[in-house]
Symmetry: C2
Subunit: 306 residues, 2 copies
C-alpha cells in the first residue's frame, strides 16, 4: 500500500480533505460541510471516521495535518480563538484524534498552513516570505529562514489588525483603522459604500469588475484598499527583510490587476534596502493550499522546518 | 591561561573593546576613537593590533565578535550600508581580521548585537522579543524562538523606517512619516521645534527634563513621540506575537518616565491576543550591550541560537 498523509483544511463553511503522497501529489480529495453544532468532540469523531473509511485497506497512513481558523498554543498544541467555529474554549483536538487514528497529528493555524502549502507546491520560492490571505478578514503566515513563525502564544500573523490609520474606521476587534477595515473583502465593500455615500448591496468581485472597466469610484476604492495593504506589507518587510509576498484568499481572484497595485503601493513605502528585492506574487494553489500545507506539516511531523 | 573572547562595539564615534569570559563577565575593557579615515583595511589593522597586544601572554583567545553600524550579508558575511563609518562599498572585514587573529571572527549589525547582549546578560528574559534602540535614529534587533532574525539580505530590523504617518515629516531616506522622523533623539527635537514654532537649540534630554517638570509643550512632544513609537511597536507585536520589548539607546536614559509612556501607547494599539502578554522593559546593559552581544556571538560561533 502507498504511503500517504491526509491534509485537512477545516474552515467555517467546509472541511476539505486530501490524500497526499510523500512527493506532494493530491491523489484523492473530498469535502464535508462544517457541522453547525459547536461540539469539537463530535466533529473530531466525524473527521476520524471519514479518514479511517478512506484509508483502511487502501493506503498506509503516515500522519494527519489539520489547518484550523484559530490559534494553536505552541507548547500544549491546544487550539483557541476559533470564533468562526463557535468554539469558545481552549480545546485539545489531538486528544480526540491521535488515539483513534494511531498516527501523528499536527494542528496549525489556517493561514500558516496555506503559507507552507504555497512554499511546498505553490508560488513561494524563497526562504523569507509572508503569505497574505485576503478574505472576509486579512490574515498572514510568515516564514523566516524557511521556518514558520508561530509567535510566543501561537498568535503570530495578525496582519489584519495592524493599524494603518489610527483615526480610521472601527474594527470588530474594538480598535480603529485596522488593515482589515479597509483591505479585506468586507473592508473593500465598506470603502465603496463610504465613497458612494450609499448602502448599496455589492460584492467585492463586482467592485473589481467595475474598476477593471474604469469606473472612477470603483478604481478609487481598490486603489485606497491596495495603498493601505501596500503600507502594512512594506512595514512588515522593512522589519523582516522579506523576499516575497504571496497574495491568496478569495480577493486574490482579482489576479494581476490586484497584484500589480499591491506591489506598486508596497514599493512606494519600502525602505531602500528592500526596494527591487521584495516581490509580490499571486498564490497558485487556490482552495488546495490548506490541504497541501497540512499534508506537508504531517510529513514533517512536529519538525516545522518546511 | 583563561579562555576568553573579545567583544567589540564599533560605532561612528568610538570603538569599545571588552575581554569577556565564557561565563559572561567583562574582565577588561577599553575604548578607542573611531579613526576618521574611511579606509576599512587600516582600521581593521588597528583593531587586530589592539587585540593581539591585549591577549598575547595573558589570555587564550577563543574568538572575536564585532558589532558594526551597518548590515551584514548573511551568505558572504560582507558588510554594507555602513554610512556612519564613511564606507561606501561592500567590504569583507573578515578577510582583514581572521588571518591575523587566527580565531573565528563573527560580524553582526549593532542593534542585533545589542539584542543578543541584553538576552545573555541583560533585561531580555523571553525567547520572542525585540530590542529597540532610540538614538540619533531608531533601530531594532529581533529574536524569535531564541534565534536572531537577520532577514534575506541581513537588513532586518529597520524599525526606524516603518512609516507611521504617510503624509508626515520628510525622512533622510526620502520617504515621509518614518518612525525615526518623530521618535528618535533628532525626531523628538524636531517635533518640539514644530510644536513651539521655533528653531530653538535644545537637546532631547532637556525636553525630557522639561516634560518631567510638567512643561505642557515638552509633555506634548514626548507623548506624540511615544504614541508613534507605541503604534509601530504594536504593529510588529501583532505580526510576530512577541513577549518583550527592550528599550535601549541614548534616549532610554529617560527611564521609567519613557518606558511607561511607550507601554501605555503600545497597549492602546495591541490586538487583544497580545494585550497583557507583551511587556515593555528598559535595557540594563547601557554602553556594554554591544560588547556582551558581540562576545556571545563569538562564543556561539556562527551558531546564531543565543
Amino acid at each position: 500500500m502507498k504511503n500517504v498523509v491526509i491534509g485537512i483544511d477545516f474552515g467555517g463553511t467546509t472541511i476539505k480533505f486530501g490524500v497526499v503522497t510523500e512527493e506532494g501529489k493530491i491523489i484523492d480529495k473530498w469535502v464535508l460541510s462544517t457541522p453547525t453544532q459547536s461540539d469539537p468532540k463530535a466533529t473530531m469523531k466525524k473527521i476520524t471516521s471519514e479518514i479511517i473509511e478512506k484509508v483502511e485497506g487502501n493506503y498506509h497512513l503516515l500522519g494527519v495535518g489539520l489547518g484550523i481558523p484559530g490559534s494553536v498554543d505552541p507548547l500544549t498544541f491546544k487550539v483557541y480563538d476559533c470564533n468562526n467555529l463557535g468554539w469558545n474554549e481552549e480545546t485539545d483536538l489531538i486528544k480526540y484524534l491521535k488515539p483513534v487514528l494511531k498516527v501523528p497529528v499536527i494542528i496549525e493555524n489556517d493561514a500558516n498552513v496555506a503559507a507552507i502549502g504555497e512554499r511546498w507546491q505553490g508560488a513561494a520560492n524563497k526562504d523569507n516570505f509572508m503569505y497574505v490571505t485576503l478574505g472576509t478578514g486579512v490574515g498572514a503566515g510568515i516564514v523566516l529562514n524557511n521556518r514558520l513563525i508561530k509567535g510566543s502564544t501561537g498568535a503570530a500573523g495578525e496582519l489584519g489588525h495592524v493599524i494603518v490609520k489610527p483615526d480610521g474606521l472601527k474594527c470588530t476587534c474594538g480598535h480603529r483603522g485596522c488593515l482589515e477595515t479597509v483591505s479585506s473583502a468586507t473592508g473593500i465593500v465598506r470603502l465603496y459604500k463610504q465613497f458612494t455615500n450609499t448602502n448599496i448591496n455589492i460584492t467585492t468581485k463586482q467592485i473589481f469588475d467595475q474598476a477593471k472597466n474604469n469606473s472612477p469610484i470603483a478604481n478609487k476604492t481598490i486603489n485606497v484598499a491596495c495603498d493601505y495593504l501596500g503600507l502594512a506589507i512594506a512595514n512588515v518587510v522593512n522589519v523582516l527583510n522579506l523576499q516575497e509576498i504571496i497574495i491568496g484568499g478569495g480577493v486574490s481572484n482579482a489576479g494581476e490587476f490586484l497584484r500589480s497595485k499591491i506591489e506598486k503601493s508596497m514599493n512606494k513605502y519600502l525602505y531602500l534596502s528592500n526596494q527591487g528585492i521584495t516581490k509580490v506574487k499571486l498564490a497558485i494553489l487556490g482552495n488546495d493550499a490548506g490541504i497541501y500545507g497540512a499534508a506537508k506539516l504531517a510529513l514533517n511531523n512536529k519538525n516545522i522546518t518546511i
